[in-house]
């Protein structure tokens, strides 16, 4: 029985993304060590682990921010050549970084379109069209948002977050990476992000959700993968494991029976 055929949750056929045997080291430290994870269309996969477990590093390989030392990335079953963020965007991979990665000194519209500016027929920036579109998008995402003329530095955490989210979903992403999307948010905004994830999932977008919060992952994800010391402890369907078992995976690296063990799982004595 292949691993693919055990995948559950409406995910079938060729995975949208396959990360296979990905390794990356910084100096002598193996931040990610032969990690393999996959993601299907319309599926949310939660990536869990302690600080420094390698989850952010792993997805930064996918988003093009880091270049892997070895391993393969396949999109729609085809080998993908991702060596910088531009390559990743060309494959429809969008990322909401934990730091939000906003240019603080420019306004919301400039951030929304950073790297993909709308231009007039003379090739100049079409700021007015960008602002108009930004007003439309933000009106849907965060109706209270009014401060279009101000640098994003002066916005609140939630407002900044919505700019980062708008940027990730505005350009027809197929694969969305969310790195701690709710870390800086209040309860109400967190609930909004949760709704948004469900909407995007329904549209067939594949989502990697990185989180510290095990409850978030159980609420939102279809499957989860746990990392420890750069290695995958195991992957599991959320229905097949309990929160306590997942905590065991995160803390001890112990793979429960409901999960498929990875190279990072400790061997039972």
């Amino acid at each position: 029985m292949t691993i693919d055929s055990i995948q559950t949750g409406g995910a079938r056929g060729v995975p949208l993304v396959e990360l296979q045997d990905v390794s990356i080291a910084f100096g002598g430290i193996r931040a990610v060590d032969h990690a393999s994870v996959d993601l299907y269309a319309g599926e949310v996969v939660g990536l869990l682990g302690h600080n420094g477990a390698g989850k952010s590093t792993l997805i930064k390989v996918l988003s093009g921010a880091y270049k892997r030392d070895s391993g393969n990335i396949r999109i729609d079953g085809k080998e993908a050549d991702i060596s910088n963020p531009r390559d990743a965007k060309a494959y429809g991979i969008e990322t909401i970084y934990q730091t939000l990665a906003l240019a603080d000194n420019v306004d919301a519209a400039a951030n929304l379109y950073l790297g993909r500016e709308l231009r007039t027929r003379w090739g100049t920036l079409d700021d007015i069209a960008m602002e108009a579109e930004c007003r439309r998008v933000m009106g849907r995402l965060n109706p209270n948002f009014r401060r279009f003329k101000e640098p994003v530095k002066s916005l609140s955490g939630g407002q900044r977050q919505s700019v980062a989210i708008a940027r990730a979903i505005h350009f027809n992403a197929r694969i969305l990476i969310m790195d701690e999307p709710t870390a800086a948010l209040g309860p109400q905004e967190t609930a909004q992000v949760g709704e948004l994830i469900m909407q995007l999932k329904a549209q067939g977008i594949g989502i990697f959700l990185i989180s510290h919060d095990i409850h978030d992952v159980f609420d939102l994800a279809d499957r989860l993968a746990v990392m420890k010391n750069g290695r995958v402890v195991g992957t599991a369907h959320v229905k097949d494991v309990t929160k306590d078992e997942v905590l065991g995976m995160i803390i001890l690296g112990k793979c429960p029976p409901g999960a498929i063990p990875g190279p990072g799982a400790i061997k039972e004595a």
């Binding site: 988003s63 921010a65 910088n84 963020p85 531009r86 965007k89 990322t95 970084y97 730091t99 939000l100 990665a101 906003l102 240019a103 603080d104 000194n105 420019v106 400039a110 951030n111 950073l114 790297g115 993909r116 500016e117 231009r119 090739g123 100049t124 920036l125 007015i128 069209a129 602002e131 108009a132 007003r135 009014r146 401060r147 640098p151 002066s154 940027r167």
Partner: protein
């Protein structure tokens, strides 16, 4: 009741109601209040110098009786500003990108000397002295050489990952040595006669009153069209345009500034000797008149040519280096505000990592910005050597510091991400005003340096205090 009302209207909009009417008007018109403060400071300095020079030496003919606010001094001030101002527009982008270029002064020397050697020792003998192609080749060569040196800096910084401070500090030292070697330690002179005009030398180096007015008219129409099209585009996407009075004010003030400047440069007349020589050479009859020592025109009295009130005079109009400065300012403003390249520079300066993650090729961007800086140094080298009619290895000495100071006085933040081209040009003008004003008052240049240094530090202090209050 007052406070309750105030709080309610606070909730209604971003503009807090306890700010003054004036401030609200400025906000509605989207006027840069910081810029307004700088212009006020500039005006204060100008008036101050005129009044002081009036006290020291009355009868200078200036607005307040001194010799600073005279058309002659203002005309010269603009010409003197152009070398630094052209480079400052590039330095703004370099600093906005969180980099620095300490090598521009030495680079100016090396480009000027190489271009001088090219025209004096190579093109002159080969093509014949005064050949019309010489100045064109020299100009292209200077800009290309500047761009090449800038690109070299940029590649070391972006791909060699050496801090720009170090790369350009090395350049500051190395390029001045290179300039000395190229010139073999001597002053290279004289420049080609057409090339010389770029420096603003002689009567033909200005475009005259008629073309100056034509230019002013074009600029006025341009301001009008730009304002109108901005208005129309905002309406098209149905969000509120600026209030009508604000747009009208922009056009009126802009136009008045253009016309006023034009009137000033046009009212600067050729010096009597230059006018006389020109009249004789071109067989222009000099009218008879009565000698008047305060007069600026020329007349014949008997067989002598004297100065008089009514007689033959020539208006200068805009000098070529000032036109170059204005053109560079316009183009660079366009580049910074309306192009993707400019947007990337600001975004990268604000958060380099975010720009990289958003797909901006920040390494290539760095190389491009330093290349542009180099090309602008090339233009400044042309103006500086043409103005001096000679290329020396000391031509650009200390220019890097003046350029950086002008950019900083003009509101460019060394932390990156913030700065404007027009601010930097006004900064350059402000610094040059201090220097030539104090020269006019016969202040020792040692004191001048002390004052300029203090003003630089003070400007940044005031600026930061202002920004904290605005926050």
């Amino acid at each position: 009741m007052g406070w309750g009302m105030a709080e309610q209207s606070n909730a209604g909009g971003p503009a807090s109601s306890n700010e003054g009417l004036f401030r609200r008007l400025l906000r509605a018109a989207e006027i840069d209040t910081r810029m307004l403060g700088m212009l006020a400071a500039l005006l204060l300095i100008w008036v101050g110098f005129d009044v002081m020079s009036a006290i020291l030496r009355p009868g200078g003919g200036g607005l307040f009786g001194g010799s600073f606010l005279t058309s002659r001094n203002l005309w010269i001030l603009l010409v003197q500003t152009s070398v630094i101002a052209v480079m400052t527009t590039g330095m703004v982008l370099v600093i906005v990108l969180r980099q620095i270029d300490l090598s521009v002064g030495s680079m100016l020397s090396v480009v000027a000397v190489a271009t001088g050697v090219l025209q004096v020792f190579e093109l002159g003998p080969t093509l014949g002295v005064g050949h019309p192609a010489i100045w064109i080749i020299a100009v292209i060569f200077a800009i290309a050489l500047g761009a090449a040196i800038g690109m070299f800096n940029g590649v070391l910084i972006a791909y060699g990952q050496i801090p720009s401070f170090i790369v350009t500090l090395g350049g500051l030292i190395a390029f001045s040595g290179a300039a000395f070697l190229i010139a073999s330690g001597v002053t290279v002179a004289p420049m080609d006669k057409t090339f010389k005009l770029i420096g603003g030398n002689g009567p033909l180096a200005s475009i005259g009153p008629m073309w100056s007015w034509v230019l002013a008219a074009v600029a006025c129409v341009g301001i009008g069209i730009a304002t109108l099209s901005g208005r129309r585009r905002r309406l098209k996407f149905s969000f509120a345009p600026k209030p009508v009075w604000a747009d009208v004010l922009t056009v009126v003030v802009g136009c008045a500034a253009v016309l006023g400047t034009t009137a000033v440069v046009n009212s600067y007349l050729w010096p009597a000797r230059v006018a006389e020589r020109f009249a004789v050479e071109n067989n222009i009859p000099i009218p008879a008149g009565v000698e008047n020592r305060a007069g600026l025109a020329i007349c014949t009295a008997g067989d002598k040519v004297v100065t008089c009130l009514d007689g033959l005079s020539f208006q200068t109009g805009y000098p070529i280096p000032v036109l170059i400065m204005l053109a560079v300012g316009l183009v660079m403003t366009f580049v910074a505000r309306r192009t993707r390249f400019g947007r990337y520079i600001f975004a990268t300066g604000g958060n380099p990592e975010a720009a990289e993650l958003a797909g901006v090729n920040t390494k290539r961007l760095t190389v491009m910005v330093f290349t542009l800086m180099g090309a602008l140094v090339g233009i400044s080298a042309i103006i500086a050597s043409a103005r001096l009619d000679a290329a020396t290895t000391a031509l650009g000495t200390l220019n890097e510091l003046y350029v950086i100071a002008a950019a900083v006085i003009g509101g460019t933040s060394l932390a990156g991400g913030i700065g404007t081209i027009y601010g930097a040009i006004v900064g350059a003008l402000l610094m040059q005003s201090l220097q030539s004003g104090m020269a006019l008052l016969n202040v020792d240049s040692a004191y001048t340096n002390i004052v300029v240094g203090i003003v630089l530090v003070l400007a940044v202090f005031v600026d930061q205090a202002y920004r904290r209050r605005v926050k």
